[in-house]
Subunit: 321 residues, 2 copies
Amino acid sequence: MLSEFDLIKHYFVRPVPGRATLGIGDDCALLAPAPGMQTAISSDMLVEGRHFFAGEDAQRLGHKSLAVNLSDLAAMGARPVAFTLALALPGADRAWLEGFARGLFALADAHGCELIGGDTTKGPLNICITVLGEVAPGRALRRDAAQAGDEVWVSGTLGDARLALAGYRGEVALAPDAQAAAGTRMHTPTPRVALGLLLAERGLARAAIDVSDGLVGDLGHILERSGVGATLDADALPAGPVLAGQPRALRRAFTAAGGDDYELCFTAPAAARAAILEAAAACGTPVTRIGRIDAAPGLRWTDAHGAPLALELSSFDHFTQ
Amino acid sequence: MLSEFDLIKHYFVRPVPGRATLGIGDDCALLAPAPGMQTAISSDMLVEGRHFFAGEDAQRLGHKSLAVNLSDLAAMGARPVAFTLALALPGADRAWLEGFARGLFALADAHGCELIGGDTTKGPLNICITVLGEVAPGRALRRDAAQAGDEVWVSGTLGDARLALAGYRGEVALAPDAQAAAGTRMHTPTPRVALGLLLAERGLARAAIDVSDGLVGDLGHILERSGVGATLDADALPAGPVLAGQPRALRRAFTAAGGDDYELCFTAPAAARAAILEAAAACGTPVTRIGRIDAAPGLRWTDAHGAPLALELSSFDHFTQ
């Protein structure tokens, strides 16, 4: 007798063997760690109405649910290995499950990251993924490793996801094609796994974090844990293609304190500059220098001419907003 | 600035160093696997109104949330190492968080299992734990390893949790002290970690599973994956102390197809019988032989005299019920 519960599993059990010694269908999955490597672990929970809109397209949601977890591995410089998926669903909607699985596995396969287990239950829509990766000892990009004199870098572009949210909320008026383009960044972020791996394996970056709650807040974690400060050039922050066409105040606000960017912010000694650009080119991920780490605590801003700026920004907080 | 989101984390960040190379507070936690050991991984999601009642005591819920995951490790014969906790909460209730953390950490500490990361967010109450353990290659107790001729064993007692649920639902009338005693089994199950470890390390059991959805359904997974059948003695099933005083039909039904027992069901060659009893005594966990594995598929029942019985039972399904 197959219950609804069992049926759901069938969307997620695949015949392809991977790294797992034992996969879905036992009390636990079994993985044989690569000798000498450390295991990196991260869990993220996505809740309807908070991390995504009710009625969000299932395929995009499958992508995003895994993407935000892979982004955490990228920020450690860890190689994705496997993940578990726990899913609470109001009901077993076949079209939804097919779409979700399609988006999830397309991204998982692109990163060689295997679904090894999880749980399904009835309940308000909630998606919890735990991802496992591997990284060589001493190579992980930690938050507490920034040093005064480091340069601050960010991958890709910032702010289009936040701009899309502002458009949905009616805070800004966007043309339909601009809304759609910005929305793509919000709904299907690109985890910077290849860049994170190169930065870690080649020993180029010191500290790193992924920008999920906004650059100011996330860089703030690096500053706090490293016991340092920073000075950033507000006009150097790379705006997303849609945000780039918006007024300067909005551009500054959404690049500095947006959210849902899933880019990497990292620090590195100035001597690594050329090697970083080479690594970025090798994996096809643009990177931009946006400032420097200071010994003095706190975050300071300048404009493109180096003149001090007073920016009032706050981070995107999934819990309080 | 500390948001509500940050405050929640403070209930779960502890200064005690454990196995983790890097714990809570970075993009990922880092674990250094013990050389040569395999990693066992399991995720369970608990939803209010499905796995526990609305308004459930927070301390008991903290215990149970981790217990059901440790039970999965026990069923693999894996030693608990670490876990992540993802928590969706309607709000940040300090008394609730304190109680939940107390119940969670009491059990975690008893098993040397370290909280290494996770996520907190606002949303309908949902608790998702992913647990990691370690087991020597070839020692894991899998579902697909039962062999014809094996004896079938179960740890502890069965059915009191299901009896408690029946009492809460008004399906049976229980005296207040009986309801409370049965309720303890439902709310604070005991994961059989020490027994699972001994069975695996000493090579005593072949197949194992934890009884979470009812013995019939869970043993059924072993039978299906091992390509075998079984004959069980309905009157040998060890009833919980409260259920033991109930009529025989109820006793048979709730021991065979209850739910929320979190006992271990395992199979072992008859030659291991004395060693199994010795291991059970060594860890203070009673075990009972309840039947044997047959080459012929299907599950058959007898009474205490060996006469065939026709029992109509179905498993407890968290999704469909």
